[in-house]
């Protein structure tokens, strides 16, 4: 039986729940999990002060309730499953290297910052800076996958070095800013200044996008790998039409203020 936590008291200020990961609770019974010390603002509380805990830590956790004020869930996660039946707060899956996090609702800022592996699926919307580098760090997401079925806001994949981010809806400004490598797919529309300062990597979008003057137009073609990528994304529940699967894409290269080895692919019906 997996671990089930349902929130009985809504926190006034964010709870810092980095201890709540399937690997960190492995082998703990409900009593032990209830007794785990977590930070609530500037005071130490126990998990039991806010959650009703059932079951036993066997590699999967289900969380229920309004978790919009619960931060840092699944930090440093290496394995197992974390399922959030509702909204979740900031800093989800910080630096995770394995396992899977599923959020049925919306997520806050900083989904999977500096993550190195594993998968995060957000069924709703996410806010700013998914898959990004923390301020000051040289590199953001190092690997793994982030699937956001709804919309996302600014600076998605800031400084990302590897891995895949897919946004089912629209993305805000500065998508893939300072990207080092990796792939970002935006099925909706992108805001302005996409790929600013990118060195390498690919940003793929299905709608016309405003290009920075430091990006130059190359050609229209059909990149073969997109067919493979999109087929895989279909299995994840993303709606991609056959036209897009086989269609042609404009290729823009940039950012020429940096290496100029990045690309933005824009679907051309």
């Amino acid at each position: 039986m997996s671990l089930e936590l349902s929130m009985h008291t809504r926190p006034q200020v964010p709870l810092e729940a980095e201890l709540l990961g399937p690997d960190k609770t492995l082998g703990l019974d409900s009593k032990a999990v209830s007794g785990l010390q977590i930070q609530h603002g500037n005071e130490q509380v126990t998990v039991g002060d806010f959650f009703k805990v059932k079951g036993k830590g066997e590699g999967a956790i289900h969380l229920e309730g309004d978790l919009a004020r619960v931060k840092l869930l699944g930090s440093g996660m290496t394995t197992g499953k974390l399922h959030i039946h509702g909204d979740v707060g900031e800093h989800l899956g910080v630096g995770m290297s394995g396992g899977e996090i599923t959020v049925d609702g919306n997520a806050g800022d900083w989904v999977g910052p500096e993550m190195a592996g594993g998968r995060i699926v957000i069924k709703g919307n996410a806010k700013h800076l998914a898959g990004s580098a923390y301020r000051g760090s040289a590199a953001g997401m190092l690997g793994g996958e982030i699937f956001i079925h709804g919309h996302a806001k600014n600076e998605i994949g800031h400084g990302m070095r590897n891995g895949l981010i897919v946004i089912g809806g629209n993305a805000g400004d500065f998508t893939g800013v300072n990207m080092l490598a990796g792939t970002i797919v935006v099925l909706g529309e992108m805001g302005i200044r996409s790929g600013a300062g990118m060195k390498r990597g690919s940003i793929i979008t299905m709608n016309p996008a405003e290009m920075l003057p430091t990006f130059s137009y190359d050609c229209i073609y059909h990149p073969v790998y997109l067919r493979l990528l999109f087929r895989a994304l279909r299995t994840q529940g993303f709606n991609i039409s056959d036209a897009k699967l086989t269609g042609k894409y404009q290729r823009w290269s940039g950012d020429s203020v940096e290496l100029n080895k990045g690309e933005i692919l824009v679907f051309t019906p």
Binding site: Y134, R135, G136, S137, A138
Partner: protein, 547 residues
């Protein structure tokens, strides 16, 4: 407050008083070491422990605008190294440039009780003093950057030597500094005027003011001596880090004649080879000169592998280094006084130059015949954090460990040095000299670096262990001015040390000469410049010394 403390049966290393590992009692009363205490005073058994004076770091960068800029530049460094508070101490953040609180506490956990900040611009002095107030445990002071000061250089050019002396006196007093620091003397101004220009020879006259670095150095050596500042001019020579710079270093030392001079992080100035090509080691030549000239003192500026932060007033150097690293960096201008450059850096074992720098530092330590004049430093955080001192001490004390470490680094670099043939091992007494007694003597801090009656009760007590890195990493007791700050490896007290500064005599009239220059070129008001007396909290004026 426990006003008396007595430690019995500890092995005492107090080189200033010729005590080398003798088992004796140490008595403390009212913040000072005393001869004896009444028999009924409770005592703490220190058998199996080593008692030394508190450490004195003669060259470190711990406070001021450039240090703060380095903190701001590296949030990632702090995130990975939080410094939690305890019941007695405040929290902070670590990394290569820790926050003020963490700096003080971390120095204390290594047994250091006095630290000198090595480069402060006059315009940044107030900021520095404010930060030093928030740096706990340690006593502290700072050296004032005067080597690229346009006003002073103009006086030199015009041959107004008496005004020069008065002006140096004015600046030291005005900012509550300890002594004068010269960084790449004469080199920053040309660089600020024209991209990529710098002086490359000690006798090269700058286009701007037509004076050479040697003119500047000579003037300061003479003036600091005449003013009787407790520490001679603290010099970062020209050409730091460039191949073939050992010639500049030798010439700089010759400029002192037989007057006192301190050379900072001399390791960075001991390279042979052709400019622009790979360096080799000239540690032998440098060590020989220092060994045979008792007026020279220096600190090594050892490079330790791992992360560091280059921070220097040598702006052209930082500009050069930013080309290698291609990461983030900062260059800043300090009005008419100095430049500044900062970049995060890391020294790696497999890189030829880094391994060579590491080896040259160790060579200098091992070739030194007089530990009183070649002192321990890593030029924190330039060569590495002060937190790596224990490892450095082990490298000096344990030749088997050193051999292992030599095996791990770039062998081509090692082949350019004499390091493998040096079998010397430092003794505990010599370590006590290079990390305590010698810096205190070079700074003329008569009450520090020693445990004779009347000395400040700044004391560190280590468990005697085979592994010297472990031993110096965690003193069992640290006493600051008679207060037990660390007991059984844990903080039991918070303590705020004082600011040490000099107050040389000078002619007040000089300020009327400086004022018009100031009002013409500076961005702040003359009245707001410097550190007014009411900004100082606890402080001590170190009396003038006669040469």
């Amino acid at each position: 407050m426990a006003s008396t403390l007595r430690f019995v049966n500890g092995r005492v290393y107090d080189p200033a008083n010729n005590i080398d590992g003798e088992v004796r009692d140490i008595c403390i009363k009212n913040g000072k070491v005393v001869d004896s205490l009444p028999d009924d005073t409770p005592s703490i058994d220190a058998s199996g422990m080593v008692i030394m004076p508190g450490g004195v770091d003669i060259h470190s960068h711990i406070a001021g605008p450039k240090v703060n800029l380095a903190r701001k530049l590296q949030p990632e460094d702090h995130r990975h190294d939080p410094h939690p508070g305890t019941n007695f101490t405040r929290s902070g953040s670590g990394g290569t440039v820790p926050s003020t609180f963490a700096t003080g506490y971390r120095y204390a956990t290594l047994g250091y009780t006095t630290v000198m900040e090595a480069a402060v611009t006059p315009i940044g002095a107030l900021h520095t003093v404010e930060e030093l107030h928030d740096t706990p445990v340690i006593d502290k002071g700072f050296y004032l950057l005067l080597g690229n000061n346009i006003y002073l250089q103009t006086l030199l050019k015009e041959g107004r030597h008496d005004e020069f002396k008065q002006a140096v006196g004015w600046w030291i007093n005005k900012t509550k500094a300890y002594t004068a620091k010269l960084v790449n003397p004469g080199g920053d101004e040309p660089w600020k005027g024209k991209r990529n220009s710098n002086v490359t020879d000690i006798d090269e006259k700058s286009d701007l003011l037509n004076i050479s670095p040697r003119d500047v150095i000579e003037a300061f050596v003479k003036t600091v001596n005449e003013l009787g500042l407790p520490h001679p001019p603290h010099i970062h020579c020209n050409n730091l880090g460039h191949s073939g710079n050992y010639k500049t270093t030798l010439e700089t030392m010759k400029t002192a004649g037989d007057l006192r001079m301190h050379l900072a992080h001399i390791q960075f100035h001991s390279y042979g080879g052709e400019p622009g090509k790979n360096p080799d080691s000239k540690a032998v030549e440098i060590a020989e000169y220092v060994n045979t000239h008792p007026n020279i003192t220096c600190d090594v500026g050892q490079v330790m592998f791992g992360k560091s932060t280059i921070m220097t007033a040598d702006a052209p150097l930082a500009y050069l280094l930013r080309g290698f690293k291609k990461g983030k960096w900062v260059n800043a201008d300090a009005e008419c006084e100095s430049g500044c450059g900062i970049l995060p850096f890391s020294y790696q074992e497999h890189v030829f130059t880094h391994a060579l720098q590491w080896a040259i530092g160790l060579e200098l330590f091992l070739l030194s015949e007089d530990p009183w004049r070649i002192m321990l430093s890593t030029d924190h955080p330039n060569g590495g954090s002060f937190m790596s001192y224990p490892k450095l001490i082990r490298l000096l004390m344990d030749k088997e460990f050193r051999k292992e470490e030599i095996g791990k680094v770039n062998q081509k670099a090692i082949a350019k040095t004499n390091l493998p043939s040096l079998d010397r091992e430092y003794t505990l007494n010599e370590i006590a000299i290079i990390s305590r007694a010698a810096p205190a003597r070079a700074l003329n801090l008569k009450h520090k670096g020693q445990l004779g009656p009347g000395a400040d009760a700044d004391i560190t007590i280590y468990d005697d262990q085979e592994d010297k890195e472990m031993m110096f990493n965690a003193p069992r007791y640290v006493i600051k001015s008679g207060e037990m700050v660390i007991e059984d490896h844990e903080f039991r007290n918070d303590y705020y040390g004082k600011i040490l500064h000099s107050a040389p005599e000078f002619d007040e009239e000089i300020s009327e000469d400086i004022r018009p220059f100031f009002e013409k070129y500076y961005s702040i008001e003359f009245e707001n410049y410097g550190v007014a007396d009411h900004y100082l909290h606890e402080h001590e004026i170190i009396p003038r010394v006669s040469s």
